[in-house]
Amino acid sequence: MAFLELRGVHKSFGDVEVLRGIDLDVEEHQVVCLIGPSGCGKSTLLRCVNALEPIQSGEIRLGGERVSGRGVDVDALRQDVGLVFQSYNLFPHMTVTENVMLAPRKVLGLGAAEARARAHELLARIGLYEKRDEYPDRLSGGQQQRVAIVRALAMQPRLLLLDEVTSALDPELVSEVLSLVEQLAAEGMTMLLATHEMGFARDVASKICFLWQGRIEEEGPPAAIFSDPQRERTRSFLRSIIEAGRL
């Protein structure tokens, strides 16, 4: 039994069926990358795992426990599952430290001093200790995104979901965020991430899932997907990526 299991997950917005029967396993300490064309449902899938979106049918299990459907304590689930957004979504009225402290204080019940000390320690680890009292708007995109990752890490999640964490960034800022994610992978963090950075996916992923029109069209280790894709749709998607110069 895998750490995170999705079985037959269906998700619709009104009449539009966005996820059409997703089966997916993520083992502990694995990094699973979701790739696929824009609009194929990557973000929606991640939001469903975090229970930000309810699913219509199917089941999601985390550590063997059902975490989808009615009667689930979503706040407890979210303590175990962190989510980092494409657009950072830092809280603009709080300093960097306050952003990182908020959830540990209010959700885990940590004291102010302890939460602050932990926030500072995490910020120091990503080299942003100097910026601890700045407001998010004064930080570069890459810095904001790294703070957003640290904000999720401060809850000590067992699973981290990353939704195209670099696609809002200028090219020269991408690597600072990616190397943070690589570092987390090396430390054994279990991650499920959507990305358009194919080179990064190839280097860091334990498994690649190619999503197409709400289904997982093909999955496998990066070597297999990138050098020997079995399905025609995977091939044409990768071809278009190569033409765009992103692999």
């Binding site: 930000l52 706040d75 979210r78 979504n89 809280f91 908020l102």
Partner: protein, 375 residues
């Protein structure tokens, strides 16, 4: 490679040329100078007439004359700036004659800047001239009826005591409105079908109380509740009863306005902020409390301030139901002296509170923006 987008543009480099030919015209500066001289002369004439209707002697007269003289001299700034504009125009024309167009442009920028100052100060001077003329109209009657210092300060302590009631009214009403309106606004935006009845209630409340003139609400609540001996108010002593009924009336009216202001603020916080907070495990209530409401309130501070200044002023409406607030006190004195100056005094009391309050909140908003916005 051909590009359908770029090929649509006309071929070849277009020569760069000025849209309008540059000329250093003397017309603006000359017109400015004429207007400046005219307004200054008008102001002096009005001041002279004002001085002629002064019915006072001694220190009062001396102080007033010093003031008049200061205004008359300050008015000279208007023609002074206009003369500067004329001089700058002449400089620009010299540069232009010498073929130095950039220097001429710089000089003309100076002309424009000076003329804007002339316009601003000139309008100011015109207003002062009008006031001086108005106050001395009808042989000084206007001044005597509305602005008689001596009568304005007859019993300033009585006015102050009346004003203290207004202050207590708006402090109490303001504190309650701040919380009550937020509550209404939050109820109004609760999602889902089960909150339907609660939402309807909140909408009905805001629609009804924004739709009735405040003075009618005050009549109905203060007089009506007192007549009907509504508990618990009826068991209190009459002054306490009327005070809290007035607070209630003001809260009902302003709660509806302020709830709408809060609602606009809550709507303006992007859903991704809520998603981020919820994804960290914060409950719906914690998300509101720590993420949505603080951002919403910051954004609506200016209109919020607007409503609170309006509330401060509307405390004077309670005089219609007989509370001894500042307007009622001033009214009694007006009847005693057949003179409106005490009412002018009451107006000044309000300004003393509302203007610093406004400036303070503006300052706080500015400081918050300085801190949180990109440099």
């Amino acid at each position: 490679m051909t590009s359908p987008l770029l090929d649509a543009a006309p071929p070849g480099a277009r020569p760069r040329r000025a849209v309008r030919p540059f000329r250093a015209s003397v017309v603006p500066a000359a017109a400015g100078l004429v207007a400046a001289v005219a307004v200054t002369v008008a102001l002096w004439a009005a001041l002279r007439r004002f001085d002629g209707t002064l019915g006072i002697t001694g220190t009062g007269l001396a102080v007033t004359r010093v003031g008049e003289l200061a205004i008359a001299l300050a008015a000279l700034a208007v023609p002074a700036y206009a003369i500067g504009a004329v001089a700058a125009t002449r400089r620009a024309r010299r540069h232009l004659a010498a073929g130095d167009v950039p220097a001429a442009r710089i000089a003309m920028e100076d002309v424009r800047a000076r003329l804007w100052v002339v316009a601003g100060l000139g309008v100011m001077a015109a207003i002062v001239a009008f006031l001086a003329w108005f106050l001395s109209a009808n042989d000084g009657r206007v001044r005597d009826v509305l602005f008689d210092w001596s009568k304005m300060w007859v019993g300033p302590s009585a006015l102050a005591r009346g004003f203290w009631l207004n202050v207590r009214l708006f402090l109490a009403a303001q504190a309650i409105v701040l919380v009550w309106a937020l509550f209404v606004a939050i109820v109004r935006q609760l999602p889902g079908r089960s909150f339907g009845p609660a939402r309807t209630l909140a909408i009905a409340y805001t629609d009804v109380f924004r739709g009735i003139p405040s003075i009618i609400v005050i009549y109905l609540v203060v007089l009506g509740f007192a007549l009907a001996e509504v508990p618990p108010f009826a068991s209190w002593d009459p002054d306490t009863q009327r005070f809290w009924l007035a607070v209630l009336a003001l809260v009902l009216v302003y709660g509806a306005y302020v709830a709408e202001v809060y609602r606009a603020g809550l709507d303006s916080v992007h859903p991704s902020q809520t998603a981020a907070a919820r994804s960290l495990g914060l409950s719906q209530w914690q998300t509101l409390r720590h993420v949505v409401v603080p951002q919403a309130v910051r954004r609506v501070l200016p209109p919020l301030l607007n409503d609170f200044v309006a509330l401060q002023k509307d405390t004077a409406l309670v005089s219609v139901v007989g509370l001894l607030d500042i307007l009622n006190v001033a009214n009694l004195q007006k009847n005693k002296y057949f003179d409106l100056s005490p009412v002018t005094g009451a107006a000044l009391f309000f300004l003393v509170i509302t203007i610093p309050f406004t400036r303070l909140v503006d300052h706080l908003i500015h400081r918050d923006q300085q801190r949180t916005r990109a440099g």
